[in-house]
Amino acid sequence: SQTIHQWPATLVQPVGSPLSLECTVEGTSNPNLYWYRQAAGRGLQLLFYSVGIGQISSEVPQNLSASRPQDRQFILSSKKLLLSDSGFYLCAWSVMNTGELFFGEGSRLTVL
């Protein structure tokens, strides 16, 4: 069966520090991968998606970047965090672009 994991679960970082959140999927090949951000108790904002290795599409211009170095690995990064980067980050995978999403456990980022 397919599984998805992301880490770290919780992160507290100072403004201006770098960020790296990692996500891996097991049990499926060539998945579509996604990074979402969620404000407290609200809907999800799509940040990046990838349909294959090295292929990244950005939905919202911002302080973050994403990379897909391997088929089942998706990384969210920042060189210098801003206060506004605080939030709950979710990695997800799907079989097709508009298909059903399967989410990781989430990573809570607090920028101080």
């Binding site: 996604y34 108790g41 609200r42 809907g43 999800l44 904002q45 799509l46 998606y49 939905e59 979710l90 997800a92 672009n97 508009t98 059903e100 999403l101 399967f102 989410f103 990781g104 456990e105 989430g106 809570r108």
Partner: protein, 111 residues
């Protein structure tokens, strides 16, 4: 503006009551998905509705897709504390290549 509007935003009810939450749009969707999310966790898919007018049941949960495929509803019968969570609808509008999410309905069922 939000492509998918969910209402109500917040709902607090007693155990055993019935409730309905709504997901509305001015755009047509080829399908709509419903997710439930518990605090500190990722959303979990509940159901996908595809055909206009379709009704799907999942135990005490009934999902309906509007005839014009612009709206959907989730009805819960005899709510239980375990139903507490954030309910999100999502769908692929014709104008976009990716899913768009509604703003969510936060449901609290009190024992």
């Amino acid at each position: 503006t939000q492509l998918l509007e969910q209402s109500p935003q917040f709902l607090s009810i007693q155990e055993g009551e019935n409730l309905t939450v709504y997901c509305n749009s001015s755009s047509v969707f080829s399908s709509l998905q419903w997710y439930r999310q518990e605090p500190g966790e990722g959303p979990v898919l509940l159901v996908t509705v595809v055909t206009g007018g379709e009704v799907k049941k999942l135990k005490r949960l009934t999902f309906q897709f509007g005839d014009a495929r612009k709206d959907s509803s989730l009805h819960i019968t005899a709510a239980q504390p375990g139903d507490t969570g954030l309910y999100l609808c999502a769908g692929p509008p014709r104008s976009a290549r990716q899913l768009t999410f509604g703003s969510g309905t936060q449901l609290t069922v009190l024992p």
